[in-house]
Symmetry: C2
Subunit: 245 residues, 2 copies
């Protein structure tokens, strides 16, 4: 059974200000919830139509399909919805490849970028303050559980880049051809906003401008989707380390 207050609480978590105030966010679906249960994230409550989860009894409530539909943000709710605590932000580690996002706004893009970080072993994802919130339910859904394994940090990107000693790479239309570039194992790579790319303030902090060359003849495609560009760039940085696997 769900109380009115529980329904109200869960629905309130669709808004960023409430998530931040309460320090809570929601995860839906069996696979996603299990990824978070098997991580360092701390469960607050689990509402499920089937008792199939490995979690403390006092945190699990069995609910009906109709109740799940009331609290789900999905068109086709999938078995369960869990509330987890938002962890304290951890500063990015030194060393390794760090991905930085300058105002990426689309939840689906951020979600698949987090999934890419997980795939390519990028531990830290640094986001400008205006990047979409990673605890937005659409982002959580699109990460397919990868959010449980990637450290996402929101900060003043300009201040962070100024204080960092690592080489800063930025993706532009007019940079050096990424396929012919020497790329290091360590560094910070910045991807920009869907419509405007990397802002001027951040551009001034870039040490090396890189580009994914276009192979089509008419060269009129405006740009790649930011998640696809991230995929290609992480692939390029990481494939050069493939002999070390």
């Amino acid at each position: 059974m769900l109380s009115k207050n529980q329904i109200k609480l869960i629905k309130s978590l669709s808004q960023k200000k409430n998530r931040q105030q309460l320090g809570l966010f929601t995860v839906e679906g069996v696979k996603g919830i299990n990824e978070f249960l098997n991580s360092d994230f701390r469960l607050e409550n689990l509402f499920t139509t089937k008792l199939i989860f490995d979690a403390p009894n006092h945190q699990i409530a069995e609910i009906s399909d109709a109740e799940l539909k009331k609290i789900s943000t999905l068109k086709s709710p999938n078995t369960a919805l869990a509330i987890f605590k938002i962890p304290k932000s951890i500063s990015p580690q030194n060393g390794g490849l760090i991905l930085a996002l300058d105002d990426v706004r689309d939840p689906g893009n951020l979600g698949t970028i987090i999934r890419l970080c997980d795939w390519y072993g990028v531990k830290d994802l640094v986001c400008s303050i205006n990047t979409v919130d990673c605890y937005n339910s659409k982002v959580v859904q699109a990460t397919m559980g990868s959010l449980a394994r990637v450290n996402v940090i929101y900060l003043d990107l300009k201040v962070y880049l100024e204080s960092s000693k690592a080489s800063v790479f930025g993706t532009f239309m007019d940079g050096e051809n990424i396929y012919n570039s020497n790329l290091p194992i360590e560094g910070i790579v910045i991807l920009g906003n869907e419509a405007n790319g990397i802002s001027e303030a951040i551009s001034s902090k870039v040490d090396r401008r890189i580009t994914i060359p276009q192979f089509g003849k008419n060269q009129s495609t405006e740009s790649l989707n930011v998640a696809n560009a991230t995929a290609i760039i992480l692939s390029e940085f990481k494939r050069r380390t493939t002999t070390e696997m």
Copy 2:
């Protein structure tokens, strides 16, 4: 002014069966419409709030913002909606790299895959019959105009692969490491369905199984998003030709 019949016609094009029966589809937004006007696609009608398009007068109708809102599929309609004729399907050319999709279902994924084909100079995109229709308005929107430059062909994928002489590559979790593989300039590369990957019937037609290796330590990410996997694979095939650019 829009007539009731025009509104009815435009709205009917949101359904695949109507698009196929009438041989028409819609494009929204200034940039997308201009890409199609500058291509071999043939305009049927253009409804716009601003007379800024280079098209024959008798095909242009000026409409109000309120009228545009009535016919648009977008939350924030952008200036114009055009109806174009669906072109006759052209058989895939021999030679070059051909991308094949085995039941990709998400419109956003197909849209960004078409954009990737355009970027990487892949002229032919072969789709199984159950792949989402490329004239679906969400797909058209996600291609950002690239659909005007990529030949998308729907066919019986198994029959096509049986009749083709090109090497057939398939993406699997257990294939050879794509970073260490010799990849040819010509060939057919198959990407599978979002949930199930490449079907058994199609798998049996694959000559070489390839995989994008995972770099994360815990190796629990299930898979990459199909559009991101396409980005990485096209990048790998094409970068090896980069000296020829």
